[in-house]
Structure formats: structure tokens, C-alpha cells
Amino acid sequence: MPRGDQPIDHLLRRAGFGATTAETALFSGMSLSAAIAQLLDYQRQPDEVDSKIGSDQYVGVTTRGGAFSPNTNIEDARQRWLFRMVHSQRPLQEKMTLFWHQHFATAYGKVAGFGGPIQGTKMMALVSGALPGPQGQIELFRSRALGKFRDLLIEVARDPAMIVWLDGRTNTRQRPQENFGREVMELFTFGIGNYSEQDVYAAARVFTGWNLQLAGANNQDPNAYYEFSYRPNQHDPTAKVFTFPIYADGGQTIPARAAADGMQDGIDFLSALARHPETARRLVRKMWGFFVSEQESAPADFVEGAVKVYLGSDTEIRPVVDYILRSPWFLDPRSLYARYSWPAEFVARAVKETGWQGFSIDGARTPLANMGQTLFDPPDVNGWELGAGWISTGAMLARMNFASTLAANQKFNLARAVPQGARTAADAFIGAMLNRFSPMSYTEGSRAALLGYVASGGPWTGSDTQLNIKAPSVARLILGSAEYQFV
């Protein structure tokens, strides 16, 4: 069986970002069940990856005059996240963080437009305790990656970046503002078809007064920060009537209550949304696409099974992911390579499999933008267009050109890594390169094209000179091939 078809490799591509040589060695000694448990129970693994930034033996980062500042400089925050995707010992945590970033898509551009670049970065990326202020939105996702969706939803609703992003800060009793109230139903929970325009009006009123405030003298100060602030005088205390149940007894009306207690409106409303069966269905279908397949619709058995787990665990995500990874559909041969890799996944996997000695992950930032995925800056609140939506001529050129940059940078490492016994025969050389990477199987014709390339320019002897020329180009051809774009 080709390396890429092995269940462990499949698992590491889906529940992580692929595997380095060392990770492949570590996991290949485990049963699949033990590997799933290790990935899911990630809190048992050390979270020391940030301390490795800047060390030898790890992919590099590039600073722009001054210290590496992932809490206050968004470019550094992007580098830090990519570094974690490549090197974290908790790959599933990073993977779910990316999932929530897509689900609650919030763009740094608007947040920084309001608070400036320092506060914008803090609101998106601040590591708890690194500077004063609440943790950034991505850290919120990271810390609650497999927790209860209800709790995450409530935290997101009071997250300063979200309050800027969907204009909650201007939502007041006198003039309700519908942006968050609409999107929380359309995109974050149960989706179109489950609510009316009247529900949008009522939802806007629920969140009147959910605001933020600056603590500190001015937003240029890295020690200043924005924090959530509930303003009772801006809250509409009257009753809100919905077309769907808010309470366990079927009640559809959030009662009038004193403005001082008005935050309870939002908690009641978000709790109802989180526990709504259609929210459960929508979430598990998204997770199906994320973990299992973009090429087959989620079967009804799968959906109802996963929904039962979700509702039965009071909206906790960990058992849902556990259910998915252990379900028969996950290992079904039709699920192998049935996902288009997201650009960030493509980059992390390419770096893991190509090597990184002497490469700065900063070299991936502009290519990622050209591939269509700038981390912390999704195009809109609906997130990125997934699946085939990632693929266009421009995006394929960007993927191929990143592969070229990486392979050229790793030229000598790639050449030296070819085992002695696989050098003199062109077929063995290609075999070794394909084993190093893990693309979907090639047709005979595609493999023949690779062999034809190796034979171009003169007879193949496997000399160091030839390896230095051909190994990086073969790596680029593999990384840029259609087969490699699937995980």
C-alpha cells in the first residue's frame, strides 16, 4: 500500500497537517485507536511549541526590525500560527482552531481599521498573559477547540474582535443594528430557512448594549486593551418574540427584564441556538466536509448519529470528533484524498514533507495570499470558499510557485536525503521521492512523465550533480501536481 493510503497517514492529514519523518515514525508504532486518542487528548501533550520559535532544528521566522511580536504584529501572528501548524505536538488542536476560524470568520482588516494594528492584532491573536487584556479570538478558539459549542458561541458573542467585526459596538436600544443578529443565525448556527426577518429584528434587540471599551490611555499602547463591556443603558429591556423555541418548555419569548440583567437575553438566545437540532445538523455536516469527505454528502446515518452525540453531550465537540474519526465512513476507501487541501494545510504539509532547515515560514505569507488564504483575514463572514473553490488557474500557479520556492531552498537537503540505494536507477529515485511525499497514487502516465523528466538532458547516473538539479524539480513536480492538492 502506498504510504499515503495508510490509515495513520490519512488520520494525520485529516486530524493534523500531515507528518514529518519523525511524526510518521512515532505514530506508525501505534494502533489507529491509540493514535486517535493521542490526537484527541491533546492536553496530555506538551504545549511548548511557541518556545521553539527561533531555535535551530525548526522552520524559521523573519522579523522586521525588532523582536518577533506575534501579539502585536499581525504578520508575526501569521508566522506563529504557521509555525504551530508545522511543529505543534497538538495538531488536532491547531486543526480545530482553523475550523473555528473558518466557522466564525472574522477579518483582521476591519478589526484593525477600528482599533489600529496593535490592538487589532491583540484582539485577534493575543496569547493569554503575554500582555494585559483578554486573549485574542484565535486563542479563544484554540483554548476551547473541542469544548462545548454553547460556551464557545457565548464567548464569541462577547469577543471584542467579533463585536467590531459585526458592528455590535453600535447596536443600541434606540437604533438596533442587525449585523450580528442576522449572521449568528444564518452562518454561526442553524442557517437559512430556520428564521424570519422578524427574528432578525428581535435578535438585534437581544444584543443591544453588548459593547467593548478601551482600557488604557490610547490604542497605540501595547499595554492598553479592548475588553467586553455590557452597557445596560443601551439595552432594550422589552420582550423579544421569536418564531422558534428559546426555552425548554417551548416558549418563544424572551421576557422583558431589567436592563441590568439584560445580558441574560443573549445567553438564553445563544443557548437555544446552540442546542437547536438544525444547528447540530449544520455543524456535523461541516465537520463531515472537514474530516471525512467533500466529495460525498454526509449520509443520514452519519448525521443523525453525530447529532445525537452532540445533543447528548450538551453541545460538546470532543465526543463528536471522536465519533467521526472512529466512524466507518472515516476510513472508507472513498474518503481517502476526498478533501481539497486548504492553502494553509498545503503549505504546512509541504514544509513537513520537504524539510525546513534554513527556510523561513515568512516565505509562505505572500504565496498564501495568492493561493487565496490569508490567515486572520477571511474574505467575509462566510469564510473561504472551500473545496473546488480553492482551485483556479491563479491559485494553482501560486501553489506550484510556492513549491518551487520551497524546493529550491531545500535543494541540497532533498538531494542528500535520497538513499544511496535509490540513486542510480531513475525508477528507484522517483520511488524514494514519492515515498518522502504522500500524494494520491499517480497513473502510469503521470509516473512516466516524471521518469521522462529525470531522463531529460542526458542519461541518469544519480550523481550528486544530477541529484542537486533533479531532486528539487521532482519535489516541485510532486508538490504542484493535482494529486498532491488532495488530503
Binding site: 458592528d167 453600535t170 447596536n171 434606540q174 437604533r175 438596533p176 443594528q177 442587525e178 449585523n179 442576522r182 444564518e186 437559512i192 426577518e197 449544520r282 455536516r285 461541516k286 466536509g289 467533500e294 454528502s297 454526509a298 481539497y340 495568492n370 487565496g372 474574505p379 462566510n382 470558499e385 472551500l386 473546488a388 482551485i391 483556479s392 488557474t393 491563479g394 491559485a395 494553482m396 500557479l397 501560486a398 506550484m400 510557485n401 524546493a407 499517480y442 502516465g445 503521470s446 512516466a448 512523465a449 516524471l450 521522462g452 523528466y453 531529460s456 538532458g457 538539479i469 528539487p472 524539480s473 516541485r476 513536480l477 504542484g480 501536481s481 493535482a482 494529486e483 492538492q485 488532495f486
Partner: protein, 419 residues
């Protein structure tokens, strides 16, 4: 909208494209007819839901001012463009001086109150409906994609998308539309140089040609790669275009300059797609004709004016039409954030050498009386008067020269006579 549905129709589109691309004809060198100047269409999408009432201002309607106390454009500042068929005086936003000049040249058509029944207030459903040209469907091919299908072209550069994602409108059964966000970076690189790099590019082409064409997704990616290789050199030529006039240094300015380059160099493109964002103005639109919304209008005005003038200078205006739209208009009353929330009917515009300029359709009365027939949603939103598909039909029938009934799947031939 539900993600799964979105994926599914992309998948279906992808499968269909891949099958066509796997045909040997695609792999042969593509003959390009470049001689005669064919008509082309440039679609400009204002992303986020443009506030039509501040673009084309009903400046004598008292309700416009009472319902927008902070963000209304003062009557004294609007650029007057006369009255519509109902005798209602209208004015353009003060930053639209270039569009006003084109209007005065008789080459700008403004179509008020365009939309459809039960207008979606969702960005994502809205743009998909404008894309498919079918309010009942947000999936499948787009109206421009189906037009491309009628051309029977094997050249992917028959269409040119200047954004990163393929919009629903350009999803086609037979054409995998190239995405060219920046012609300058649309290039191929190799770890090696010279003959070695050429051999590698040749191998990449062979690998893509030989990949498993029975697996639709794989074939879609391979065909996209082949599409990139077959368009590289021509796009590279466009990247070197020197316009006859300066363009603003904005994303839209760059995109329209590139489109003008592709038209001037005759690369054979029939449909261009450009977009500019920021129109989801829930907050701080700005007062008295200055502020965030004025900036948006400035971006559109300055870029479109440069494009129009550039083509005009080169005698290329007669073969070009630019068609502007947005996924919805906005609520009539401003919200508490000096912005506006999602609404219904919008404004479309068309300009070019073949356009019959003027004001089409009638302005709404903004009287919040729930019985007001020009509004909907209990007087909150503008109700459509002109079905957007009838504008598409006019463009298809009278500009692009194809039968709109087959492209749109219905008869919408009663549209405004903009061309």
C-alpha cells in the same frame, strides 16, 4: 447558506468542466481568432450590498431625509441628472462626477429598483441568485457561464476573472474560467533555469494530461493546471500593458487597467469579471456626502472613469460594455450606527460605446406607509420594479447576440432598452 449545498454545486460544475477538459482537443495547441474585434462584457460587482439610495439620490423625497437624518446626501450636493419617467428628480452621489460626465455623453444607463420577488437579505444567497439568474436556485451554472457555453470555445481565456474565487455567475459547463487577480504574478517558476526549467514545465503538463480523468475532482484540478499553462504567456503580455491614461492605485483601478490591457491586446476574452468590496455599510457611511461611503463611490468613479477614457482614447469603447450590480440594496432607514442594514432592490448601471444612456425605471416613494406599493417589508425596504433577469436578457440578446431565453431558461425580453 449551507456549506454543503455550496460545495455540491461547485462539485457538479467541476465534474462537468473536467470531462470537457479531458477531451484531446483541449490539449492541442489552441488556435485563437484574434482578428475581428468581438464585443465583450465587463461585469463589475459591488460586493456587500450597495446602498443604492445614496448612489442615485431621490433628493426631493422628504422621507429620504427624515429616514436618514445622519447619512442622507444633501440636495445641494447631488449631481443632478434630470428626472425619471415618473417625473421624480434624481441626483448622483457627489463623488460620481466621472459617471455624471459619461451620463451626459449619453453612454451611461441607470436602471433603478432592480431585483426580484422575495429578495434575499443574505449576502451569500443573494450573490448566488444574481449569479445563477434564478431566484429559486443558488446552485449550478451561472448566467455568464451558460453564455460561455454557447460559444463552444476551447480557450479558457474566453473569460477572465480578476478575483481569486470563481463567482457563481461564471460557473460554466465547458469553460474553466482563469482566475487572474494580478497579471504580474501570473507566472511559472522552477527551482532550476533554462532548458531544465522548460523540461520541468513540459513534465508538469504531461503529468496533468495523464492524471486520472475518471476521477472528477482530480481531473478538475489537472485541467485547471493545464488552463494555467495555456494562458500564461498571453496574460504575461497583458501584464506589460501601457495604458493611454493613468489609473488610480486601487484594487479596482488595477483590475480595470488589466482588463483594458486584455481588450487592447486582443487576447480573445469575451467576459471579464471585476469586483470591489466594502459595500456592507452597517456603520459609519458618513454624513453630507463625505466619509466611508463617499470613499467607496470615489473608488468606483475614478477607476471606471479611467477605464472608460482609456478605451475611448484607443477607439475601443464601441466593443465594450461595463455592467454594474450588487447583491441587494439596503434598508431605507439608517440604523443607530450611521449605517444601513440589508435591504432589497438595488441599482444597476451599464456604460459603454453601445449603451443608450439615460434613467430607466422609476424611483420609489420612501413613505413608510405599509401600503406604499413601491416598498416592501412593511415600508422598510425598496421593492423591485425591474426584474434583474430582464437586464441580463437585454445584454444577452442585444449586446452579446445570443438567445436570452435559452441562457436564462425563460422569457425576460421585456427589459429596459439600454442597448
Amino acid at each position: 447558506m449551507a456549506g454543503i449545498t455550496r460545495r455540491r454545486f461547485i462539485r457538479d460544475g467541476a465534474a462537468a468542466v473536467a470531462i470537457t477538459y479531458a477531451a484531446p482537443a483541449f490539449l492541442s495547441d489552441i488556435a485563437r481568432a484574434q482578428g475581428a474585434v468581438a464585443r465583450n462584457l465587463v461585469v463589475l460587482y459591488l460586493s456587500g450590498g450597495n446602498d443604492a439610495l445614496n448612489t442615485v439620490v431621490p433628493y426631493t423625497d422628504g422621507f429620504y431625509y427624515s429616514r436618514r437624518p445622519n447619512i442622507a446626501v444633501p440636495a445641494g450636493l447631488v449631481l443632478q441628472i434630470g428626472s425619471d419617467a415618473a417625473g421624480r428628480p434624481l441626483g448622483l452621489h457627489p463623488r460620481l462626477t466621472g459617471l455624471r460626465d459619461i451620463f451626459n455623453e449619453g453612454r451611461l444607463a441607470i436602471i433603478q429598483r432592480t431585483g426580484y420577488e422575495n429578495s434575499s437579505r443574505s449576502h451569500f444567497q443573494g450573490i448566488d441568485i444574481w449569479g445563477t439568474g434564478d431566484p429559486r436556485s443558488t446552485s449550478g451554472t451561472g448566467w455568464l457561464g451558460r453564455y460561455l457555453d454557447t460559444l463552444g470555445s476551447s480557450d479558457p481565456l474566453v473569460a477572465w476573472n480578476s478575483t481569486r474565487e470563481t463567482p457563481r455567475a461564471l460557473v460554466s459547463r465547458t469553460v474553466g474560467v482563469p482566475a487572474i487577480p494580478d497579471a504580474r504574478t501570473y507566472s511559472f517558476s522552477s527551482p532550476n533555469t533554462g532548458a531544465e526549467a522548460l523540461a520541468e514545465r513540459d513534465a508538469a503538463t504531461r503529468m496533468a494530461s495523464a492524471s486520472d480523468s475518471s476521477a472528477p475532482h482530480l481531473a478538475f484540478v489537472s485541467s485547471t493546471t493545464l488552463g494555467a499553462f495555456s494562458t500564461l504567456d498571453r496574460v504575461g503580455a497583458v501584464a506589460g500593458y501601457v495604458p493611454s491614461i493613468g489609473y488610480p492605485n486601487s484594487g479596482l483601478g488595477l483590475a480595470l487597467k488589466t482588463v483594458a490591457g486584455a481588450i487592447a491586446k486582443g487576447v480573445g476574452t469575451r467576459v471579464f469579471w471585476v469586483s470591489t468590496g466594502g459595500f456592507d455599510t452597517h456603520a459609519n457611511e458618513g454624513a453630507a456626502g463625505v466619509g466611508a461611503y463617499a470613499t467607496l463611490m470615489g473608488t468606483v468613479n475614478d477607476s471606471v472613469l479611467a477605464f472608460y477614457s482609456d478605451l475611448k482614447n484607443q477607439g475601443l469603447l464601441g466593443s465594450t460594455m461595463l455592467l454594474e450590480f450588487s447583491e441587494f440594496g439596503r434598508r431605507i432607514s439608517e440604523n443607530g450606527s450611521q449605517g444601513t442594514d440589508h435591504g432589497a432592490a438595488a441599482v444597476m448601471m451599464a456604460l459603454g460605446g453601445g449603451v443608450r444612456g439615460g434613467l430607466y425605471g422609476t424611483a420609489p416613494s420612501l413613505d413608510p406607509d405599509p401600503a406604499n406599493p413601491t416598498l416592501e417589508n412593511a415600508g422598510a425596504d425598496v421593492r423591485h420594479e425591474t426584474d434583474f433577469r430582464s437586464v441580463y436578457a437585454k445584454v444577452l440578446d442585444s449586446w452579446l447576440g445570443v438567445d436570452s431565453v435559452s441562457v436564462l431558461g425563460g422569457n425576460f425580453k421585456n427589459g429596459p432598452g439600454i442597448v
